[in-house]
């Protein structure tokens, strides 16, 4: 009898939960669709996807193709933000790892796979450094990562000697612009890495720990969670993701541009995470929504480029659209709209 009651209750209580989740998905997804439709109106050829040289080709493909590196960075950023941190150094990590890759290809005959591993390891080391500063020296995340943000570019330039180091090689060219079954390799890499991260976060208790540390680090420590370890881990993950993005970006132009690779990317990544509904004050992160956030930003960028808008207006349009998306997203704004609609009805 009670068992039956319980089960009924259970169903009742899970229902609103899933509805609520749906609502959270709604805003970003609608925003993305609107921007894509807008792009279609501005640029007629937007939706056509052709096959060129045996792979998919078109503006829609471009969005995921271009977004692949940003999405990696953003997903790492989402986890860091989940711990109530922030990682400003991602751009520099991208530069460092790109530089490491390029210089190793140029100066050694290591197998490309080993080079990739070394580059990723470099990203992990960077993440470790950030994590140590934040978790063990208690330096505030913005400042802790600002250090690497400033110094990292210097390190990257030191590695490349200040030049754009160009390289060639089938392995990295494939990562940059190759295709598997018509789908860009970099998109596949990003998807696999993100799926892996998602599984690690949501199929183990790691995600819970991250959110708990972000929500209240003191309480989490008292509940037996290694709060410092979790923070370090978050930065390491972010470093790893940025490293992969760095390799992709370098492979894309077949060169390591220590000065410009990933410049200001941290802002786009943070923006994507927030558009994806996470609070910068930590406590919650959503990987899927972050991906959508990146797609929104990338679709917007691509749309602006396609529209032929004079360059000097680009920033204003970007700021305006982002603002609108954020306002529509904000729960408070939605409440206000709903209330206004109700008032009209009654």
């Amino acid at each position: 009898m009670t068992g039956l009651e319980d089960r009924k209750n259970q169903r009742k209580t899970t229902m609103p939960f899933s509805v609520k989740l749906n609502r959270q998905w709604l805003g970003p997804v609608i925003a993305l669709l609107l921007i894509i439709i807008g792009n279609g109106i501005i640029s007629p050829g937007f939706f056509t996807i052709r096959i060129v040289d045996g792979h998919l080709y078109g503006s829609l493909v471009d969005i995921v193709h271009r977004g692949a590196s940003t999405v990696l960075v953003a997903v790492g950023m989402a986890i860091v933000i989940g711990t109530r941190g922030i990682d400003l150094s991602v751009g520099s990590i991208i530069a460092i790892c790109g530089a490491v890759t390029a210089v190793l290809i140029r100066d050694t005959s290591l197998s490309p796979f080993v080079i990739l591993l070394i580059a990723l390891a470099a990203g992990i080391v960077c993440g470790l450094w950030n994590g140590m500063l934040v978790a063990y020296l208690d330096i505030q995340p913005i400042i802790a990562t600002l250090i690497l943000m400033v110094a990292g570019r210097g390190i990257a330039q030191m590695i490349t000697g200040g030049q754009i180091v160009t390289f060639h090689g089938p392995f990295f060219e494939a990562i940059g612009s190759g295709y598997l079954l018509g789908i860009p390799w970099r998109v596949i890499i990003a998807a696999v890495l993100i799926a892996g991260l998602w599984a690690v976060m949501r199929k183990t208790a790691l995600g819970l720990f991250v959110e708990s540390v972000g929500g209240n680090a003191r309480a989490s420590r008292l509940a037996g969670i290694d709060a410092r370890g979790i923070k370090v881990l978050a930065y390491v993950i972010s470093g790893l993701c940025s490293a992969m993005a760095g390799v992709i970006i370098a492979a894309d132009i077949r060169g390591a541009d220590a000065n410009n690779a990933g410049l200001w990317l941290e802002l786009d990544a943070i923006l994507a995470v927030v558009i994806g509904g996470a609070a910068l004050m930590g406590g919650r992160f959503y990987l899927g929504l972050t991906v959508i956030g990146v797609l929104i930003i990338q679709a917007l960028t691509t749309g602006i480029l396609l529209s032929g808008l004079p360059s000097q207006y680009t920033l204003i349009v970007k700021a305006a659209v982002v603002m609108v998306v954020l306002l529509v997203q904000a729960p408070k704004a939605r409440d206000m709209i709903l209330r206004a609609m109700q008032r009209k009805k009654s």
Partner: protein, 324 residues
């Protein structure tokens, strides 16, 4: 016993003195008042910006739009003076009203829609920079006798140095900032909101109004910084002051203000800005570092500084074990 709230400030002072002492020890010219005067002049706009930023950070927020604001104010003033033939002072007034208004508007959005300041001000940063491009793509001189008089005004210091008008404006701004922070209810409310927003609300503090005012104040200070910068260079450049927001944040934090809000001092920010300047000056005095070593050195000095500050703060307070 000294109140524990002053430890970070003392640490900042100690490190500042240490750094300056090192400069004097290493380079003879460093002890000249010329260097001191330069420090005050060259970092004036940064410190003015950072004072506004101090209030924002004290309230638990952040303002990324300040760098763009500096450029925007410059371009706007150049347009007003050059295009419309206004007197620079009138342009200053208009620019500062616009700046304050824009800051207040961002504060309004942050408060009304509960969106995170980081993001609103990021959009503000893009928007203002974009506005610069729309008004004027080129770098243009602001030529007016008033501007050049402002530029050449100087109060001599003993030695080779002098205090410039920029430095004086900055010092005045520091004093105004200190008074606002420590001797007005608004200032104390800012601390309260940053310390615990929810509690502040329950204590009956007008949180919404104060938030709007804080961003307006930051707008005011950053547009003042824009004015100082425009007069300092007697020109406007749409790409001016890129990344100054990060320098300003760093100055505030180095000055001992907690990024989470509620604790810190305006005077600390002043020294924070000076420290940033000293680091730069040391590097160019040295003159042997190439481009990348410059960056690495700035990072390393920042790191060394913060660690030192941590250590000093900790050894002062002895107990106080931090959690996770």
């Amino acid at each position: 016993m000294i109140n524990e709230r002053y430890y970070p400030l003392l640490a900042t002072l100690a490190v500042c003195a240490l750094l300056y002492g090192y400069g004097i020890y290493e380079h003879r010219a460093f002890s000249d008042t010329y260097v001191l005067g330069n420090l005050l002049t060259d970092n004036a706009f940064l410190i003015v910006t950072a004072i506004g930023m101090t209030f924002v950070i004290l309230s638990g927020g952040i303002d990324l739009s300040v760098g763009s604001m500096i450029a925007f104010v410059g371009v706007l003033m150049a347009e007003l003076v050059g295009g419309f033939g206004l007197h620079p002072l009138a342009a200053v007034v208009i620019a500062m009203i616009v700046g304050t208004g824009f800051g207040g508007f961002m504060g309004y959005l942050i408060n009304k829609f509960d969106i995170q300041p980081f993001i609103i001000t990021l959009a503000g940063m893009f928007f203002l920079r974009g506005m610069c491009f729309v008004i004027n793509l080129d770098s243009v001189p602001i030529s007016h006798s008033f501007v050049s008089d402002f530029g050449s005004f100087r109060i001599p210091l003993p030695g080779r140095g002098w205090l410039s008008a920029s430095a004086l404006v900055m010092l005045a701004a520091v004093i105004v900032g200190i008074v606002i922070a420590h001797y007005t209810r608004f200032g104390r409310n800012v601390y309260a909101i940053g310390g615990d927003r929810q509690s502040a609300e329950l204590l009956g503090i007008p949180v919404g109004r104060t938030t709007v005012q804080v961003y307006a104040l930051s707008g005011l200070f950053s547009s003042l910084a824009g004015v100082v910068f425009a007069f300092y260079t007697a020109s406007a450049y749409p790409l001016a002051a890129v990344g100054v927001e990060l320098d300003a944040i760093a100055a505030v934090v180095i000055g001992g203000t907690l990024l989470t809000g509620g604790m810190g001092f305006v005077i600390g920010t002043f020294f924070g800005g000076i420290i940033m300047g000293v680091i730069q000056t040391l590097i160019s005095f040295d003159g042997s570092l190439n481009s990348w070593w410059t960056k690495i050195m700035i990072g390393a000095l920042l790191f060394g500084f913060i660690v030192l500050q941590r250590l000093i703060t900790r050894s002062f307070s002895g107990l106080r074990a931090g959690a996770g």
